[in-house]
Every structure is written in structure tokens, then in C-alpha cells.
Symmetry: C2
């Protein structure tokens, strides 16, 4: 049996199983590293023994060592995430980013089946993406940080200065869930779909999609995360991107995840399989 | 013997040989497709017979068919480039983008030897890049169009509206050679390095480097092309990118091509080798 952890900035989802049909999950808020990992470990101990655990973690992370890196999230910087889980459960642990895990989940069972060039994007507490090019996850020097691309910011239309502690008005600073909350004074889920807030959000995400697609030219872009749950947002992004592209190159398909909120934890099971190799 | 063509928007470079040590080249301006390809064919006929020809072409291109696609360049749209060369010389032709060819040249003999994740960027008549991720060229749906990313454009500092016929103030519209010429009234090569024009240019290119690196996280970015010949420009891009990154993630190395103006034509020889496979 395999275990998976989707470690998000807001919540953890832990699961045991072999795929979507037999997956048993639990979820709880992300608090301190020690308390949150203890809850995960307790869940796995209460299930039948797992042979390996995959972790898809919020970032930035150090993939080689399984640590969290320079996150602004209090208490998590330099936390030995993979090592802590490995020692507590006594099993092999495969560590990757949350978005790489979700990309693997959607590739195996979801909206990216059979594709060799695609992205999985999350728009929520942060903005990030996992990319597969020529059938392989893209890592490079470390791992992509797609939420930190710079996009045009029309200060006359949107005087909000952005909320990224590193970059101010990078994409994440302008279009993440916390950015929407800081700009509009309430969580994005409470903003009615007809408000101009969503045109602005679609505009920023279309600019980001444009930049990602100019670099990777993916066949499909799967867009998930809390903010993407707003009805109609994906259609608005498609429309605004078509206007930005102006026919210059073929547009990648933009689709929601087929696995809904389970892309990450299911992808963590795919990671756990790799413990053998 | 192998032949290579680097087909640029401004000039063609044709070469015959096996590598940098024995390469014989000729170059001439890019005029109409027919006249320019005739000159290339005449060069190859005057050499010892070639077994295959590699072409690295300006874009956008249709890689599968070897055609030029929707270029604004007069006369070249829908031109059957690979087929015309194949029929004229009676040899196998391998067709790719100019920047993918240059990336292969720098990988084999230049600044990207031994790397599995890097980019070759040209900043000249247009702006484009070839990317290698996990040791393989990135294609995706078609091929990257990295010159058409959107970046912040501070209209107060730079009221020039951009000159991309498709997108106005995309990267290429703001920072290509023609953009510099239109904004400042003379070719970039005549702008003295101490002018503020070069701070602005470094700023735009640093924003682009940031966006590319957030997506691909390359180990190294090789930056060539006519505009990049300005002394000190690479150092200014490094400095401005460090300021933009603000320590958030490791910076990719930014270096000039080791093969100078021959990256593309040498890479076209690497393409020609692939005619056998």
C-alpha cells in the first residue's frame, strides 16, 4: 500500500490507496511543521502499513534534501520535511513540489492522460505550476517558480501594489487568493462572478498563460486551485488570452483538473511508486 | 560532407564542414525567398557534394512541413523552405528554428557543453530562444515563441508603444533591434554604451530572463544576436535580474555564445547529422 501527502500552504491532504477508486483521505489545516506532520503520521499509522510515502509540497523546496526553502510561511523555512516523515514512519519517502505531484496525478488519471507536453497550474494561496516537456517533468537548476513571472501591471486600472513579500507585483503578488483578498477586502470565494474583480483576475491569469505558453508551448494547461473554482473564470481566461495572442501562434487548451481537489494527493501516490526505482 | 544554413531575418549564413575547425561559410542578405535560397543552393553546388543539409530558420515556422508560417516578413509567409532546398540539391534536409539550431551548436562546441537544461537566446531583428530541458529540445504544441512574452512596460519612463505587428509592446516589440532603432532613431550599434537606452534595454531583457527562468529554471542562458554585442550589456542584465529576483531563487548563469556569430550555422550541421536517424 502507498501513501501520499499533498502539503499545501493552507491545508494538508493525506491519502492511502492505489488510485482514485480506492483512495481514502483525510485533510486538516497547515499549522506548524511539527504539529501538521504529526497529524499526517498519525493518519498513516491508523491505516494499514504503507510501503512508501510520496509528498507533493508547497514551496520553494530543496528537492535533493527534501527541505522547505526560503518560504515566507512562518516556521517552515529550512524544515526537513521528507526526513521527518521518513524517520517517523520508517518508510521510503519521495519528495517533490505540490504542482509536480498534481501534474503526475492528472497525467495518470485526469485531464493530461496521454500528453507529452502539458502544465498543471494552481491558483490559490500561491500560484505555481508543474510542467511536463517531452514526457518528463521540468526541473532545471531547481524547479520552476511560475508564480513569480512579471506581467504588465496597469496601476491606473489596478492601484493595488501587489502582496508578494519578495517581488511586490509579480503574478502571485497580483493574482493569488491572498492578493484578491487584500485588494477587495474579502476572500475570492465571496466575490460574486459578475464583479469586475474577475475580469481583472482573468486578465492577469491570461497574461501569465501567455508567458508560460510562449516558453513551453504546452498542448494543454490544466488550471486548478481554490481561486479557479469561480464559475466562468476559465472561459474568461481563454477569451482574454485569445485577444492577447492575436492569432500569432496556436493556443494551448485550458481546462480544469479532472481529479478536482485530489490531483495533488493522487499524484503523491504516483511519486510513492517511484520509491522502488 | 554536411551543409548548414542559418536563415536569419536579415542575413543567411551557409556553411559546409564537420565543425568549427573546418567550417567554410558564406553569408548574404535575406531578400526574397526565391533569390535567397538560390544563393544558398549555388554555394552548396560550388562545394564538394553534401549528403544532407540542416536549416535553422527564422520563424514562426511549421516544423513538420518545413514551411515558414505567419511571419510579417514580406514574401516569406507559407514559403516551402525545406522542400525548395531538398528539390534543388537532391539531398535530405532537416529543418528547425534558428534558435534551436544555435542551441545545438552551443551544446556541441560552445557555451552549453555538458548541460542538460539551458537556453540559447538571440536578441536581434527578432527575439527568440531555443530551450533544452532534461537534455531534449522543447517543442510542445509547435515551438516556443519566447520573444512574445509580456513584461511590465512603464509608459512614463518609456512612451514608445512597441513595434510588434501582432502584440505592440511584447518583449520583441520593446527590446528587439528594430524596436531600439524605432525608439532612438538609429541602429542599436550606433548607440553609445553609456546612454540610458542601454539601461532600459537591460531592464527589459532582465524581466524577460526572469520570466523564462521562472518557467524553465535553466542552468545557463546563452545570449547572442546583434543587440547583445554591445559591450557591458550582459553584465547589466545580470545586475538588473539580481535586483528583480531579490534572492528568491538561484539565478541561472547568463553568458555570451562561445561560437560568436557561428552558433546557428554550426548547429545546422548538428541538425544535418540527424538526417540519418
Amino acid at each position: 500500500m502507498l501513501g501520499g501527502i499533498e502539503a499545501g500552504g493552507t491545508k494538508f491532504i493525506c491519502g492511502v490507496g492505489t488510485g482514485p477508486d480506492d483512495l481514502r483521505t483525510v485533510q486538516f489545516p497547515t499549522t506548524t511543521p511539527q504539529a501538521t506532520v504529526e497529524q499526517a503520521v498519525a493518519f498513516f499509522r491508523a491505516q494499514e502499513p504503507v510501503d512508501a510515502v510520496g509528498i507533493g509540497s508547497f514551496g520553494p523546496v530543496e528537492l535533493k534534501t527534501g527541505h522547505i526553502a526560503a518560504t515566507p510561511k512562518p516556521g517552515w523555512r529550512d524544515f526537513d520535511f521528507a526526513g521527518t516523515v521518513r524517520r517517523a514512519l520508517g518508510v521510503r519517502v519521495v519528495f517533490n513540489t505540490d504542482v509536480n505531484a498534481a501534474a503526475l496525478g492528472e497525467e495518470r488519471w485526469g485531464a493530461a492522460q496521454g500528453l507529452r507536453d502539458f502544465m498543471y497550474v494552481t491558483v490559490g494561496t500561491g500560484i505555481g505550476a508543474g510542467a511536463v516537456a517531452n514526457g518528463e517533468l521540468v526541473y532545471g537548476l531547481k524547479h520552476p517558480e511560475m508564480g513569480h513571472v512579471r506581467i504588465p501591471h496597469d496601476l491606473a486600472r489596478d492601484p493595488f501594489p501587489g502582496c508578494c513579500p519578495f517581488h511586490g507585483d509579480c503574478l502571485e503578488g497580483l493574482a493569488s487568493g491572498p492578493a484578491m483578498q487584500a485588494r477587495w477586502g474579502c476572500p475570492s470565494s465571496e466575490l460574486s462572478p459578475e464583479l469586475p474583480a474577475w475580469d481583472l483576475e482573468a486578465h492577469y491569469l491570461a497574461l501569465a498563460v501567455n508567458n508560460w505558453a510562449c516558453v513551453l508551448s504546452p498542448q494543454r494547461i490544466v488550471m486548478g486551485g481554490g481561486v479557479m473554482r469561480m464559475p466562468g473564470l476559465i472561459e474568461r481566461i481563454r477569451t482574454q488570452w485569445a485577444s492577447i495572442l492575436n492569432g500569432y501562434m496556436p493556443a494551448s487548451e485550458i481546462v480544469p483538473p479532472l481529479l478536482g481537489g485530489r490531483s495533488g494527493v493522487l499524484g503523491a501516490l504516483v511519486l510513492a511508486e517511484r520509491a522502488d526505482s
